[in-house]
Subunit: 332 residues, 2 copies
């Protein structure tokens, strides 16, 4: 018997379709193993090919070489050189200029590594650079919102296999963000508590959907996971903005990110996935009802007409079973 669960953070209804429920191991990715070389002469992100990327915006040096590089996207969706303008025609055709920032963060010099397989110090450095670029993006007062995200694998929308993340900063606030802030505000006014603080507390009490629980973070599968193995990483300390993460929290977050991505890698056979840092601006860090977090979406199923047409989701797996499975996956 199916049930329909409400995701209180995203306000999306999810049909947990137990009639067609699959076992966690049914989602293993049986794709051909692609053994990548450590270095590829044709890859624009490999060392030695630095001239093939547009202007370098940051470099974490490693002697003569580098550990992490941040470069402008070669085909930017938005650009800081475009003056910010806004036009409106009778409320029906609103248009804002393509002012913004679109950066690529090359996570490692090695062509054959991926985020979950980076060693802990490298992953901490990556998170520190995410934070620095996020703060830097918001120094431009034309920027209203920024997201840091990763597309891993072709099924997650990437065309380059060398491990990288992206930052896109926009001159407008996405409606999805506005809607979730509004929902969080109503929850706060009703209960006096931030909805993510409440979900995190309640899920830790319950325990069935928890994957990892440490001093500063909790990794869990949402009660109304939108798709199989959809995962959230919540900071325990309430803060609206990723910009506020401390050095100690950064180290703990690196452990969580490495753990969950390694569990996907070994337990589900390297599935394609996206992750996104969902955060308010640094200026809004003190907001009481917004709470930054990371969402990870393995691309194991496909949105079809029903999902596109209703904004509801059908999840053919049980969040509790998937969390149990992930807890059992051994990582190195």
């Amino acid at each position: 018997m199916s049930e329909i669960r409400l995701n209180v953070v995203t306000r999306e209804w999810v049909i947990i379709a137990t009639e067609r429920a699959k076992r966690p191991t049914d989602f293993r990715n049986n794709k051909e193993k692609n053994h990548l070389p450590r270095y590829l002469v044709t890859c624009p992100f490999c060392p030695g090919n630095e001239r093939r990327t547009p202007s370098e915006r940051f470099r974490l040096p490693d002697g003569e070489n580098w550990k992490i590089r941040v470069v402008a996207n070669k085909f930017p969706a938005l650009s800081p050189e475009v003056p910010k303008t806004r036009h409106e025609d009778s409320g029906l055709a609103r248009v804002v200029s393509g002012t913004g920032i679109h950066e690529v963060i090359i996570e490692t010099p090695l062509h054959n590594l991926t985020t979950g397989l980076l060693d802990a110090p490298q992953l901490e450095d990556l998170l520190r650079i995410y934070r620095a670029r996020f703060i830097e993006a918001h120094r431009d007062i034309r920027i209203e919102h920024a997201i840091i995200f990763k597309n891993h694998g072709e099924g997650a929308g990437t065309s380059l296999e060398h491990s990288h993340s992206q930052l896109i900063a926009t001159p407008i606030v996405p409606v999805q963000f506005r809607d979730r802030v509004e929902a969080a505000l109503h929850y706060f006014d009703d209960t006096g508590e931030c909805v993510i603080c409440a979900v995190s507390r309640k899920d830790r009490e319950d325990g069935t959907r928890i994957i990892l629980d440490t001093e500063h973070f909790v990794t869990l599968i949402p009660y109304a996971a939108l798709s199989p193995f959809h995962t959230w990483l919540f900071p325990k300390r309430h803060s609206a903005s990723f910009a506020s993460i401390s050095e100690e929290e950064t180290k703990d977050l690196a452990i969580h990110l490495k753990t969950i991505l390694s569990k996907f890698h070994y337990g589900l056979d390297d599935p394609d996935y996206n992750y996104v840092i969902k955060s308010s601006r640094p200026q809004d860090e003190g907001n009481e009802y917004c709470h930054w977090y990371i969402t990870i979406i393995p691309r194991l199923t496909m949105a079809a007409g029903f999902e596109l047409g209703s904004g509801m989701f059908i999840n053919s797996s049980l969040p509790e079973k998937n969390a149990e499975f992930l807890r059992s996956v051994k990582v190195e």
Copy 2:
């Protein structure tokens, strides 16, 4: 230079990324032609295999045979046999039972046809059956919302190649629908006009994004199309519910649906696509600010981390150029 357009109906911001803009013909689907047989002995939807589908709910007869069949989905996401219940645990875990309807509409006895290639009388019959099933679904007072949709091709989420559509009726109202109704209400209160009536009128005056304009319907590419060749079919007469479509309008809609799907088939080489009928309940037909319509989404690009994480879209094509291209595509 990119620009960011607001879709006033969906309230989604779309980056029209002209820096990476592609020509309409770049989206041609170069997949291997799959020449299907007229009949496939292993297909559960082919004539002769009727026992392989669950309970038949409707049949349009053709002498001893049938033209169109409606059957229960073999792996239903929702079922009318489940009693409707609702539980809530401190506002954080809301759950509704999987009460609902999940039907499959087999559009033709022929295995090698697809919706856009059906002849006009068959397509009219299909639309009449859509309407009848939509009205029938809402006779169950536990049903709050119903959508009729089609997944064409593997990239659009279908696993069965024999042409079929689906109806899913849910015991709750999707939040996406609520949000759009609210936006339409605000537009109506601000201007005294239904937002879709206004968009339709303005786009017909402008002309650049129109594909087909007849007595009762207009087919167009939205100003802020979410993805390449995203298309809307608007009825000209204001009505909130598809249930209100007249016999004359049905015939006109069949022409529009056949035209646009044939243009996709011949002009873009049979791309995968989803279409969805977005409609209020029959009971809400008289609503002044909601307006039913059909949306078609060819699956030519993929949502990646940015789209999932922000609810914004990047469209690497120009709506005006794509409309011009579709107008030029000759269909038989």
